[in-house]
Symmetry: C2
Subunit: 717 residues, 2 copies
């Protein structure tokens, strides 16, 4: 091995890079970008963009540019606010939900706080009986229809937030025939035990509510320009043809308002797991009890869709040897209100990373590869800024992007580190976290790895900290699931074993302030510093290592686990498996093939002549393109922009990542198909696609001039 002197210089720079990131600086960045609401498409969010551009230039990036797109956004009508009423038989509004959240102390004079709303809701005033459908999951609607015998056609459904992406709840309600949907935050899902509501603690107050978009984009980006960037000359579909826009009114409320809607509901008593923590019976409906039989619920929704200019900020450090290889650190800037956690806890970390990188540049460092920093806009409206940029630069990214590290909220709890990433990054994540000190008090001398390991051991699989699959719901989506770029995210999180509420209590409410971070989540800002070092360390090593720190063996380990697990899921139907001759043999054989190819690949790296720039480039290209190999250009069924055969959200929940999503969804559909033979045919088709894809990925790891079919593939003579 040569270039070891280069490598040791790089290690010294890495140490300096991590050391340079300071808690007080992160605090300063967080303070600066959370003073005013900066919703996507507003003037203030452009002001912050310009400020970021200026500061990144000042920090020393080689270039920083604003990249605008004109995308479909959605805002409440300022003169006709959205609300929900209970109306009596005369049509009088006997109860109305609140028009805004109580503003937190210190922000009383702030204007332009957008009230809670469901972005992209249809307009309308549907009126009717309420039906309560728990979390609004596919299985909740099945239970409602099949076990409770309730048809929601023409009804307004009320569901609690949590468990799945809200857009899936809306889709399920539409499919079931509802004419409106109300979503509320139940204390069971949005309050931690023994914690006070904000500002005395970090729980969601009863007057708070969760904003959020209710699209079903499945990765399309701007609903009017699916597949292409929303530039001036872009062809725009009509609103009717837009992707993923709900056709019914949708509105979010807090639990104080929810009590009024729920307390007099009639109908069946629900099963226990449909009951939340409010002091009501959670009856299913339809409609109210006999005493209030004539009362109806009316939604008043006036939200407007509007094509609006948004701005990404893109900064670069030009790579010294391989300027055409990109390592991307991207996170969004737009917030529903102040964005104290989402996204500025993340954006502050990016800012500090840029500052630290700038310091290194001034000391003579320049990374081997190009680093791209992105401040995305309109993430909250469907990952629009990041997706449009991915569409705009798809060819360059496909050919040149080494990895994408996401930088949304850096903290969602106070317990330990959480990492979701592609398997090829597992080894690097462990390596970096061993080089970062624990931010926990009374853990001097412990590394972040050790601190994390003792709190969240991956016991069943291996003795190491748990790393999870990437799902969706943040800006890595287009990079990972559409383009097949190795991706990961890291943040501080809660203790999942004891804290059972969804995301964090004040999520997407006005109470996501600077103060909630400073007073509760991370008073020392050392947790955010640790996250900055993890994200920054990943970027640094990916950009500066001579050999890319990507691990194909870990991919093999994960594939093997996923194949076992999806085969086990199918084995819940042993008779049909036999009847329709469904077998996972081809998939297991492909995974075995991949495992051998990965092992041989890494064995060959041991003897690589690292003084030969072309030989190094060739194996790095193999590593870079490994993730790309899992992309099926035809996409998953019905979802042309979800193209990753190994990882994608299930069709039933955008947030969570499933492995072998094509097989998973086809198995999910078994239960509901009118034609089981056809449904099993689709399972077989999906297994075949998965097996082919894993075989093809194995080929990319074999020596590049050798017969592509040298790996064990029974078809070949």
């Amino acid at each position: 091995h040569s270039n070891s002197s280069d490598d040791s210089a790089s290690s010294r720079y890495l140490r300096e890079f991590l050391d340079e990131m300071r808690p007080e600086k992160i605090r300063e960045h967080l303070r600066k970008f959370t003073r005013l609401p900066h919703l996507a498409g507003t003037q203030q969010n452009l002001v912050y963009a310009e400020q970021i551009k200026e500061e990144w230039l000042k920090f020393g990036l080689d270039s920083v540019e604003m990249v605008p797109y004109d995308v479909l956004l959605s805002y409440p009508n300022k003169s006709q606010p959205n609300y929900i009423s209970i109306v009596d038989q005369l049509g009088n509004e006997v109860f109305n939900t609140s028009l805004a959240e109580p503003v937190p102390e210190g922000y009383e004079d702030v204007t332009d706080i957008v009230p809670p709303y469901s972005a992209f809701s249809a307009k309308g005033q549907p009126e009717g009986d309420l039906v309560y459908v728990n979390y609004g999951r596919t299985e909740d609607f099945f239970q409602l229809q099949r076990q409770m015998g309730i048809n929601v056609t023409g009804k307004i459904v009320i569901v609690r937030y949590g468990k799945i992406f809200r857009g899936n709840k809306v889709k399920n309600a539409m499919l079931a025939g509802a004419k409106g949907i109300i979503m509320f935050s139940d204390p069971e899902d949005y309050c931690a035990a023994g914690v006070q509501p904000y500002p005395d603690g970090w729980n969601l107050p009863g007057g708070g509510a969760q904003r959020g978009n209710v699209l079903n984009l499945n990765g399309a980006g701007d609903p009017l320009t699916p597949g292409y960037p929303a530039k001036e000359y872009a062809y725009r579909h009509s609103l009717e043809d837009g992707v993923g826009l709900p056709k019914i009114p949708v509105h979010p409320i807090g639990y104080h308002d929810a009590i009024h809607l729920l307390k007099n509901m009639g109908g069946q008593i629900p099963p226990n797991n449909w009951k939340g923590a409010l002091n009501v019976s959670y009856r299913i409906g339809p409609g109210f009890t006999d005493d209030f039989k004539t009362h109806k619920v009316r939604m008043n929704i006036q939200t407007n869709n509007q094509v609006t200019r948004i701005y990404n900020v893109i900064g670069r450090i030009r790579g010294a040897q391989e300027p055409d290889r990109y390592v991307i650190l991207g996170g969004h800037r737009d917030a529903w209100v102040f964005g104290g956690i989402d996204p500025i806890s993340g954006a502050a970390v990016v800012h500090e990373t840029v500052r630290s990188a700038g310091r290194l540049l001034s000391r003579g460092w320049r990374p081997r590869r190009t680093i791209v920093f992105a401040s995305w806009d309109a993430e909250e409206f469907g990952l629009l800024g990041s997706t449009e940029w991915a569409e705009d630069n798809a060819k360059l990214l496909q050919e040149r992007a080494v990895a994408y590290i996401n930088a949304d909220s850096a903290i969602e709890g106070m317990y330990t580190l959480r990492v979701d990433c592609t398997p090829s990054l597992h080894t690097l994540v462990y390596d970096i976290t061993k080089q970062v000190t624990s931010p926990e008090e009374r853990e001097e001398g412990l590394s972040l790895y050790e601190s994390w390991h003792k709190r969240d051991n991956w016991t069943n699989d291996r003795d190491a900290p748990r790393i999870s699959k990437l799902g969706s719901g943040s800006d890595f989506e287009a990079y990972f699931i559409r383009l097949g770029i190795a991706a990961g995210r890291a943040r501080y999180t809660k203790n999942k074993k004891t804290e059972r509420y969804s995301s964090y209590p004040v999520y997407h409410s006005v109470y996501e302030t600077f103060e909630i971070v400073e007073n509760f989540y991370d008073p020392s800002f050392r947790k955010l510093q640790a996250v900055a070092r993890v994200r920054g360390g990943l970027i640094f090593q990916l950009a500066d290592s001579q050999l890319l720190p990507l691990d194909a063996n870990q991919y093999a380990v994960s594939l093997s686990k996923y194949a076992q697990s999806i085969a086990q899921l199918a084995q819940m139907h042993p008779e049909e498996m036999k009847m329709y001759e469904v077998t996972f043999d081809s998939l297991f054989s492909a995974v075995e093939n991949f495992t051998v190819a990965a092992r041989d690949f890494h064995d060959r790296l041991e003897t690589l002549d690292r003084t030969d720039p072309l030989q190094v480039r060739i194996v790095n290209d193999q590593l870079m393109y490994l993730e790309r190999a899992f992309i099926d250009p035809l996409g998953l069924p019905g979802r042309p922009f979800y193209r990753h055969v190994i990882f994608a959200p299930s069709s039933h929940n955008k947030y969570a990542g499933e492995s072998f999503p094509g097989i998973y969804d086809s198995l999910f559909d078994i239960e509901n198909s009118a034609n089981p033979e056809k449904a099993w045919e689709e399972v077989k088709r999906q297994i075949s696609i998965a097996a082919f894809t894993v075989h093809a990925a194995a080929m990319t790891l074999t020596p590049p001039s050798v017969s592509s079919t040298k790996t064990n593939d029974s078809t070949n003579v």
Copy 2:
């Protein structure tokens, strides 16, 4: 510039490589592989495959492998032959078409000559009145329906071969409601003036007929496994769900048989351009004249579809410096019968190229990049062998393939060279043809370039030999139109100004023998030698030049021409253009942008440090990926496997290449749309996609670490 000594060594090897290719060797190869019929899926075609493998290994390739797939083929039923009858009112067959072509002299004892048939025809015995529809083009059916007022629903249509791909004729007949289609070879389209029928000349005898598949695959490959290779574990669709299979019986006949069907037809006298060269009136029908009113036509088609194993032969020369860069020379081996012209005139040329390359290897040469030689199977059944291999290796090819040179029939006329290729290869084609001597008698001292130039000058555009756009109908399709790999083809051709017959007269008949080449097309085998040198020279330079010999400036020139031409086509509807606000400004601006980026790119090459392997690799990657930049992953409308935005066949004729096919087809549809506003919306959408794609391609040529939006793009602030 450095590496000039390498370059001059490479030039000497190129000279040796071209000199080594010998006419008598090509003759020998042609003779060897045309003795017996070798239809795809038959034992004899496997025997030839094994023979090719052995000889390529003996010639000195580093590796040669057989790569099998199991694809849907189609054969006549041996015990129930296909034919067409005229039946009288009692149902008696008063005329039957012939069951086979008269076998040419010397081949009387040959078995397994498949009779003329339309591969993948539906089975059936439809009976009814005939309607004559000229060439069966979209415009012919329009004229029939709109001007002649004839509805072909439930009729059997008879069309002449020529002008468009036969599969399009079948599709048009199905769309028009026909229940069967008969295709005949009219002497106007399959006989040259003053030439005798074979064996006295090279015209089609009256008993000869054109075999061919009648699929509408649009690039899907095996109809049962679209998008994925037809391996053992592949999921196969049912025949009903197969891609592009016709739903009606189809059969081809020669002109002797056609006379019997046509001579008594009744109905209108057709326009002059519907009349062929037979001594019949070419009346339209439906049905026969009053004298034969009760006679009907009955088709008897018993052809079977069958999943069958096919074999590609893949040989390789490992690249010395960049083994992970592939230059491919591929052509098919399977023939309808003997394949004297199609494909063995091409396969013999590949064989000679391999032999010559082997000689060079033995003298110490090794190319910079890997060369792949392919003998494809089942081209005649829908480009199946080449497409399945492309599907099998899609990731590797997308990431590593520099260029694909096609090697189907090397000769289709005796006049001069014909080249169809991507614009970035224009310069290299001219360069190579200047290094090859003219094969024409009395042209000693002239280069092929000069000989070609004086016969086919590109007068309107420039003073240089004409180079045409790639269409489809041969094995480059998946590589060029689906994957976006720079591609080209070269062959000897007829004089288009004076020879107006389609392809060549004996095309796909039993009369495509070794003797037709030896006696008529190329007795000296010097024309085939010239073609071998062009194809081989392209491969050599693409594999061995330090800088890839691809020319982005020529792409700019072509794009500009195509943009002008498609805008002009749209201008045939000036009022609608105004009414629907259709403009080509965005496309012209994108082309201008591309032109500047290409010029700057080539300017920078002038000062490139060619001693720096990474810098060289980086610009070569830009050149390699240029063609890839024109691929739209979403495909053309309704054609997911035709993804090249600049070049694809129109939906109305698979053979011919259109530029900006998405725009072209949407303009074509204007005429027939029930909703012109919607049709024009589609035109606008297609213009926007084209503009975006050309912009994106321009970005790939800018310096790789520079802002991707530095090129002039009005959206950016």
